[in-house]
């Protein structure tokens, strides 16, 4: 039936002919894959376990497959960083140019988001971003998550929780360093409102305590968001591969790459924004404006409103 319609010289049909051929080829490839595997042994859906596989114990600790993959990714990053920045010259060669472009565009983004005060945190932002993006993308490489020794690190809640604890420490320690302990903890145990009367004081105290409580929710959501996205993406990939076999799961791989990039970006951005927010003191909200001067840029305040 298709042959007879192709034989007719119809323009409208010819235009879509490559598309139909492509769709037909994909379906044929899928059917062939199903025949090769055999319908009785149709692949069962294997969901990656939440807990990582323990390879061997070291004293009270255990070395899991996600730790091994973390080492591999860390080694790759270190080797690349050392190899690409050897013999820097004033007039860069193409490789140095590319590296400089990556660093500068990320650093400029940091400054545009957090203002000049955030320039100090650009290395942290870029390190987090590059490590997480490589970890997320490693889940797409064949055999990662299927072999005992390899697993995408960020699909393990332990790794994302560790990263979240690191950023938690960073934004609080930086807040204490910049504001000093008195002013920093004054944000959360706020008794300044009592100067305006008891009711104002109680409200301010309550708001401050609530804000302090929210500080502890930040790392939890950071860890769970990254873990849920990456691990959920891997579950989706394995389900789709089991259902669709060949060629058809490819778009989901592309989606997974995109989600990995966006999630790494979000983790790094949120760490940066939380850090810049922790540097802001609340002292001058009721006092005359501009007394302390060091107010964050408008961008961060709008981001805080979104938070």
């Amino acid at each position: 039936m298709q042959e007879s319609s192709e034989a007719r010289p119809a323009r409208a049909r010819n235009r879509y002919l490559p598309l139909w051929i492509a769709i037909g080829a994909v379906l044929v490839a899928d059917l062939l894959a199903a025949l090769v595997i055999g319908f009785p042994d149709y692949p069962t859906i294997e969901i990656e376990p939440i807990a990582p596989h323990v390879l061997f114990p070291v004293g009270p600790f255990t070395i899991t497959n996600s730790i091994v993959t973390t080492w591999v990714i860390g080694a790759v990053i270190v080797v690349l960083a050392v190899a690409l920045t050897r013999g820097l010259r004033l007039i860069p060669n193409p490789v140095q140019n590319a590296v400089e472009w990556i660093y500068e565009s990320l650093a400029n983004f940091v400054v545009s988001l957090g203002g000049p005060a955030a320039k100090r945190y650009a290395p942290l932002f870029i390190a987090l971003f590059i490590f997480i993006v490589l970890s997320n993308w490693s889940g797409v490489i064949p055999f990662f998550g299927k072999v005992e020794w390899l697993r995408a690190p960020t699909s393990d809640l332990n790794v994302t929780a560790g990263l979240a604890i690191v950023s938690f420490c960073v934004f609080h320690l930086e807040g204490i360093r910049v504001l000093g302990p008195r002013r920093y903890f004054g944000k959360y145990f706020n008794v300044r409102g009592f100067r305006h009367g008891p009711i104002d004081g109680v409200i301010d105290l309550f708001v401050g305590l609530l804000e302090g409580l929210l500080e502890f929710l930040k790392p939890v959501t950071l860890a769970l968001r990254l873990f849920g996205n990456v691990w959920g993406g891997e579950v989706m990939l394995s389900v789709m591969t089991a259902l669709l076999l060949a060629v058809l799961p490819l778009p989901f791989l592309g989606l997974e790459l995109f989600i990995g990039l966006i999630q790494a970006f979000i983790f790094a951005i949120l760490t940066l924004v939380f850090t810049v927010l922790a540097l802001e003191s609340h002292d001058d909200e009721h006092a005359t404006a501009g007394e302390h001067g060091e107010e964050g840029p408008a961008t961060v305040k709008r981001a805080a409103a979104a938070a």
Binding site: S112, L113, T221, L224, G232, I266, I269, T299, A306, A307
Partner: protein
């Protein structure tokens, strides 16, 4: 009962969905009105979407934990 609970837990994805929809719609409007501010609006939109999405991920994780028990 666990599968039913897992299904119910996924109802929690509805809220972030509505939230991200509103957020993206409004920021697209804002970008249309003021194209010069588009980069700033986009950055803030991504942050807000990430924060809203985190809640959906919480529901998803609870659902998966119940389903795999």
């Amino acid at each position: 009962m666990e599968p039913i609970g897992a299904g119910l837990a996924l109802l929690g994805v509805v809220g972030p969905g509505i939230g991200i929809g509103i957020l993206t719609g409004l920021s697209t409007q804002a970008m249309g009105r003021n194209p010069d501010a588009a980069p700033v609006i986009r950055a803030n939109m991504i942050i807000g979407a990430a924060l809203a999405e985190g809640l959906g991920i919480l529901a998803f994780v609870v659902g998966i934990l119940l389903a795999l028990r």
